[in-house]
């Protein structure tokens, strides 16, 4: 039976661990000298400590060092390019595609101010409602054990099981070690999104994954003009206006920007309000915006079928109008998380998403 108090027990353990002050150490010496239990505990802990010290320090195989070194190269090369565009900004352009394609290919005559209103509205729609993905030149985790940075790849093959996703994903654990990500995951909004069917559907959408692997799209994202516009505060202010949101909803409900739809848009109150918006006027005169409007790469992207498929997807629209989704889209940590391959795999499945949330709650 142990007669030592908790305080005395801690005092002795602290002594072994070198955590005591000189005064506390003196107290331990007195205790050990006066109580048999204290002396026995002290002796045992010293023996344990000595035994641990006998355990040899092991050298890993040289192959380990080599493997780490090899895995490090592409990461080093990717630094500076992967972070120049935030995942968030990168996604803003996706939703523009369909309507812009239509405008650029068939309605060049409308490239005046009125068209620009629609363009910005569509861009804005994309800004608030497009599920981000792996647009960066490099993505954390290449799918192998090393988790090196490799180019984002399309999802292929059979879906992972819930256990596979959670237990094989070192990347996920890395993400969970990031305080910002953990904080995000534990928000109600994030949990709501992870339980949203539309979110899972869009994560399973082939057009979405085609978009992520589109080389031309990557080229656009690396353009200076894109960077400039995406980081323009006025542009963001404009897109966060109520008028914009109203207009974006209107645009989003049009399958194609036909003449009729376009006319409806032009007569829309929100549209007219936006057209008179000072921020909008600034954007129209923004060099970056004008460069993008005339950019060949931009037009190529819009001519791609995948954009139309994606933009006409009901899940996409549903997700875009989800307040929780819009809320988390404003979070930087969400970009890091959503651009992670493992997370995307998890997000394809509701049950796996729930397990992921449980894992996040268990972390720390």
């Amino acid at each position: 039976m142990n007669m030592l108090t908790e305080y005395q027990l801690e005092l002795i353990h602290r002594e072994i661990d070198g955590e005591n002050t000189p005064e506390a150490s003196a107290e331990v010496r007195d205790l050990v000298a006066s109580q048999l239990e204290a002396m026995t505990l002290m002796t045992n802990l010293q023996s344990l400590d000595a035994l641990f010290r006998e355990v040899p320090y092991r050298e890993p195989s040289p192959d380990v060092r080599d493997a780490i070194s090899k895995a490090m190269s592409p990461v080093a090369n990717a630094q500076g390019t992967t972070q120049t565009i935030t995942g968030w900004a990168a996604q803003q352009w996706n939703g523009v595609s369909n309507f812009m394609g239509e405008l650029m290919s068939t309605k060049k005559v409308l490239l005046g101010a009125t068209t620009a209103v629609a363009v910005i509205a569509i861009i804005g729609y994309a800004l608030v409602g497009y599920p981000p993905g792996t647009f960066d030149a490099g993505t954390v985790g290449g799918g192998d054990g090393l988790g090196g940075v490799t180019k984002a790849e399309r999802f292929k093959g059979a879906k992972q099981t819930e256990a596979d996703v959670l237990l094989s994903s070192a990347e996920v654990q890395t993400l969970l070690q990031d305080d910002k990500v953990l904080k995000l995951i534990r928000t109600g909004a994030f949990k709501e999104v992870m339980n949203n069917d539309a979110f899972h559907d869009i994560m399973n959408n082939e057009a979405f994954h085609d978009l992520l692997s589109n080389e031309v799209f990557h080229d656009l994202l690396s353009s200076n003009a894109f960077h400039d516009l995406a980081s323009n505060e006025v542009f963001h202010d404009l897109l966060s206006s109520n008028a914009f949101h109203d207009l974006a909803s209107n645009v989003a409900n049009q399958e194609l920007l036909s003449n009729e739809a376009y006319n409806q848009l032009a007569n829309n109150a929100a549209y007219n309000q936006l057209a008179n918006n000072a921020a909008f006027q600034q954007i129209l005169n923004n060099d970056a915006f004008q460069q993008i409007m005339g950019n060949d790469v931009f037009q190529q992207i819009f001519a791609n079928d995948m954009f139309q498929q994606l933009f006409s997807n009901e899940s996409f629209h549903e997700l875009a109008s989800n307040e929780a989704f819009q809320q988390i889209m404003a979070n930087d940590a969400a970009q890091q998380l959503f651009s992670n391959n493992s997370f995307q795999a998890i997000a394809q499945n509701e049950a796996a998403s729930q397990l992921f949330l449980n894992e996040a709650n268990r972390a720390y």
Partner: protein, 183 residues
Amino acid sequence: MDNSPAANDDLDRALARRFLDGERAAGDELVNRYHRSVFNVALRMLGNVQDAEDVTQTVFGNAFAALDSYDPKYRFFSWIYRMTVNESLNTLKRRRNVVSLDGSFDVPAPAAISQGAVDAEDRVGRALLELKPDDRAVVVLKHFVSFSYEEISDVLGVPVKTVKSRLFTARERLRESLLVARA
């Protein structure tokens, strides 16, 4: 074991920064500084050389891939050891799904190690595997990396009070398995 890297935390931060700026040699230096101790922590957590090597590779792969998200106001070694412990715990979870922990201690002794050291490693290794993984992590960081309570708290993301509680509980069990039972 390895020198505690805490004293060179400023150096770690500088190396991380230089690597992010494109200086590959800085990344090599970070690996040189930590890969042995990361391996040894994983080895004591897992009791298996191959698994520990896999964890070491994974940890560095993930660390470099996510280095841009490393916040320099935190200590680098806390970050890298936290990943090591977490990855080791993940490995244990995976292992539980396929094989019993009984007899899973698998650390072949190199020829250069004395018989006494081999015996100590075998005894301690098996006793560690009998501990709960969370308790084991505290013991490993305390006895094999010589971290303070506060440093362990940083690495594991738990309060110092929890660190002490786990450590003292684990030592009681180790006393039973390594000293009392043997006597």
